[in-house]
Amino acid sequence: MDKTQINYKNIYYPPGGILLWILIFLELITFGVALIVLVVNSKENPELFHQSRLHLNSTFGAINTIFLLTSGAFMAVTVHQFKLNNNLIASKYLKLTMLGGMLFLILKGFEYYLKIESGHTLGSNSFFTFYWLLTGFHVIHVLVGMVILLFTQNGLKKGKTLLEDIEASAAFWHMCDLIWLLLFPMLYLIF
């Protein structure tokens, strides 16, 4: 596909493609409803939610937010450079994008380790049930995103990647950012 010929103003081709945007909305609605249920639950026992929330390390959450946002910025540059036919530079930024994802996963893994060590597991109380399920599903999305990026990187190296592919990969990766931007304040900050 010609890298300059996509008409984004066409309702059927938002950047990343219509199917991916339908997926993004479904994911956002699913996580959104789960977060609303979390808040409704918190009204039944606000003290428990407050005390449980204090066991989470908001600094870890903030650092992880910065990792994901920086990774998202690198992804945006990857797409930009690819459109300019600078495939080598695009490949370099795609690797940096994956590094951001890896750092997120490492810190999240460390956080999970600390939670398990201190006995705050899935069944501890309703707050931690939400915490583990919501962040766990998000981590799965990040892992899937990393695999997609690996395939994209491989295609980029072989010169087989199309603009549609790289935009779809980027849209999926940014979706992980969007979900985390909802999870972080709701789980780590507001209770």
Partner: protein, 79 residues
């Protein structure tokens, strides 16, 4: 990095740090409101700048905006 992406990232990082700091004053209801507003702003920056939604058909922009407003209104209504 392009200037727009760099500036957007800088704003997002600053907003994240402000959000984390504001959470120390969470006892105040206004603190929760402020945190949610900052999150909505960050969400908008990522979707419109990084995901290039600004270039998309207005349908997608309006749909995402409605989602965000509904989400925030429900959360604030329940809280």
């Amino acid at each position: 990095m392009t200037k727009t992406i760099s500036y957007t990232l800088l704003i997002l990082i600053i907003l994240t740090i402000i959000t984390a700091l504001v959470s120390n004053f969470i006892d105040l209801k206004i603190g929760v409101f402020f945190i949610l507003i900052l999150s909505v702003i960050k969400f908008t920056f990522v979707s419109f700048q990084f995901m290039e939604l600004k270039k998309a058909h207005i349908f997608w922009k309006i749909t995402l905006t409605i989602y965000l407003l509904l989400f925030m209104a429900i959360i604030l209504g329940v809280l």
